[in-house]
């Protein structure tokens, strides 16, 4: 029994969010003022879960008959998810009312999707990964189309659902083939037999199908078709969650399942696949983003190219690479949420003010917004004092350590291309006259959320060493 209490203590973040969304259901049912209570309750739950994960980061254990892992990098992923989601909830308070319809389900689905992500990151069994993935994806599909009256939102939701279900099919087929060859769905079992099975074609086919399914979810190049349309159609805050939490969760599942490939103990046999889709995503995302006029579509293509940079870390296949990927995910989560947050602040009713034109001359009227947005754009482009630079730096260093210098060089080239479209917005904001008569009432909570994420970007950029050391300590 005592053993049980320790197990429950270690998964308090999961229990908190599980209980949180049930209580949110009750609040939504019985309180007239649920639209005031729910957002703050949601934020409280996320922060409590996040701080517990931070506090218990050392309690590394595997619990529930080898089903869930806790502590270490799992808790670091929990921290990324919960703090990111807290920022999303803070942003949403005013945005979701401006967007048209308020539904209490918005916050409930937000919590269930985070619960799914946490199950994925903590999984020690392929079934847990599948369970978490479905919980996350189903919440995402409904969040994308929350406003039933908007055609674009409907399109986004349906597109995401169809392609996501297709991708899930790949994953399940991959799991079936892996189970057929390993005779177990336990990830430890797969890891211990990986080397001896790596000449088995059926096993490799299973792993590849599994990876292809997750390539959909992380929005890597040949499987990216849904990204721009879904980001454009869904609420801006939710698009921010898709591009950060969803991506981080899919990467966590890849790292958890194929972790043995990235420790350097056995060769990284998937290197060619990962390297090729990484290069394709980087260049495709950076080049196509240049021709975008809609800021949300531009951020979607930038999200594709960031998936490419993240894959460099996995292709490198050493523990530096994985530590770099997790660090990159943390910094990317906060800077991209900041970017989508500012877009959510500026967006007017009925999807107006989303073209690049509305950003010209922003600095003269809303200097604070322009300054915050510039910091985020510098960080996304990877310019030194901010978090984005160190993320790329660690990933490229890992590639060079594995003798993949050509991959690092291509990564740097692609970043140089991406600087053009990130800094174009800064140029528009500071050096051009206003072209449209932009009037926005900046919501205080939304601005607070953006300021918090920018502060986090700066803090991660100032002290990257402690964070990367912490991650590297847990992933050996």
């Amino acid at each position: 029994m005592l053993n049980n209490f320790q197990e429950f203590y270690n998964i308090i973040p999961i229990l908190l969010i599980g209980a949180g969304f049930l209580i949110s259901l009750l609040i939504e049912m019985y309180f007239k003022k649920s639209d005031v209570i729910l957002p703050w309750f949601t934020i409280l739950i996320f922060l409590a879960a996040g701080f517990h994960a931070l506090y218990a980061v050392n309690s590394v254990s595997v619990i529930f008959q080898n089903m869930l892992a806790t502590g270490g990098i799992v808790n670091i992923f929990y921290i990324i998810f919960t703090f990111g989601a807290a920022i999303v909830a803070l942003l949403s308070i005013d945005y979701i009312k401006k967007y048209g319809t308020y539904f209490g389900e918005y916050y409930i689905l937000l919590q269930t999707s985070i619960l799914g992500m946490m199950l994925m990151a903590g999984a020690k069994d392929l079934f847990m990964i599948f369970l978490g993935l479905e919980l996350m994806s189903v919440s995402f599909y409904s969040l994308a189309g929350l406003n039933r009256k908007r055609l674009k939102a409907n399109e986004a939701s349906l597109k995401y659902f169809l392609l996501g279900a297709f991708a899930t099919g790949f994953i399940v087929y991959g799991i079936a083939l892996i189970y057929g060859t390993v005779h177990s769905t336990s990830i430890d079992m797969i890891a211990s037999r990986f080397y001896e099975l790596s000449s088995d074609k059926l096993f490799i086919a299973g792993i590849l199908l599994f990876l292809i399914g997750f390539s959909f979810k992380i929005a890597a190049f040949p499987f990216h078709m849904w990204v721009p349309d879904v980001y454009e159609g869904s609420p801006t805050t939710i698009a921010g969650l898709f591009s950060t939490g969803g991506k981080a969760a899919a990467f966590s599942a890849i790292i958890v399942t194929l972790g043995v490939l990235f420790t350097g103990r056995i060769g990284n046999i998937l290197m060619p696949y990962l390297a090729v889709i990484s290069v394709l995503s980087m260049f495709y995302g950076s080049i196509v983003a240049i021709s975008q006029d809609n800021i949300k579509r531009m951020l979607a293509y930038s999200s594709i190219s960031h998936a490419g940079y993240l894959l460099i870390g996995l292709a490198a296949g050493n523990s530096f690479g994985v530590a770099g990927v997790i660090f990159y995910l943390a910094s990317y989560t906060f800077m991209n949420l900041g970017a989508f947050g500012i877009v959510a602040l500026i967006e007017g009713k009925d999807e107006s003010n989303l073209t690049l034109k509305s950003f010209s001359g922003l600095a003269s009227r809303y200097p604070l917004l322009a300054a915050l947005f510039s910091i985020i754009m510098f960080s996304l482009a990877g310019i030194p004092p901010f978090a984005g630079f160190f993320g790329k730096y660690y990933v490229f260093i890992a590639a060079i350590k594995s003798n993949l210098t050509w991959l690092a060089i291509l990564g740097v080239l692609s970043s140089v291309i991406s600087v053009y479209f990130y800094l174009r917005i800064v140029v528009l904001m500071y050096f051009k006259d206003a072209e449209t008569d932009l009037k926005i009432d900046v919501s205080k909570t939304g601005l607070a959320a953006v300021i918090i994420s920018v502060l986090l970007v700066i803090i991660i950029g100032i002290a990257p060493g402690t964070i990367i050391d912490l991650i590297a300590f847990f992933f050996k």
């Binding site: 259901l25 009750l26 049912m29």
Partner: protein
Amino acid sequence: MLVQYIPVFLVIAVAIVFAVATVFSSEIFGPKRPTQAKLSTYESGMKPVGTTHERMSVKYYLVAMFFIIFDLEVIFIYPWAVQFKKLYIENGISVFVSMVIFLVVLELGYLYAYKKGGFKWD
């Protein structure tokens, strides 16, 4: 290697031949005395009304979803109830508590559907 599958193929072949033969032999050898009633659409003895391409009310869909919730609940409860004594001796009261938690979560969903007017017919 394929030899061991011959019985399977044989069964499939016999099934196909049998199905085709019965359908066509009744067509060929059977007597045909058609009447108005015989030629009309079969609707369980009722007089056929309207076209087959009716629009179904989406309410049926909701009922089907609620049915699935309770169906799944029963699927989980049955094996639990059958094995309860053995599980109780091995694991103690936590066996009962975990099922109660499961039911509470499910009933919350039911309550939510009720409060949101999921059971209102009009």
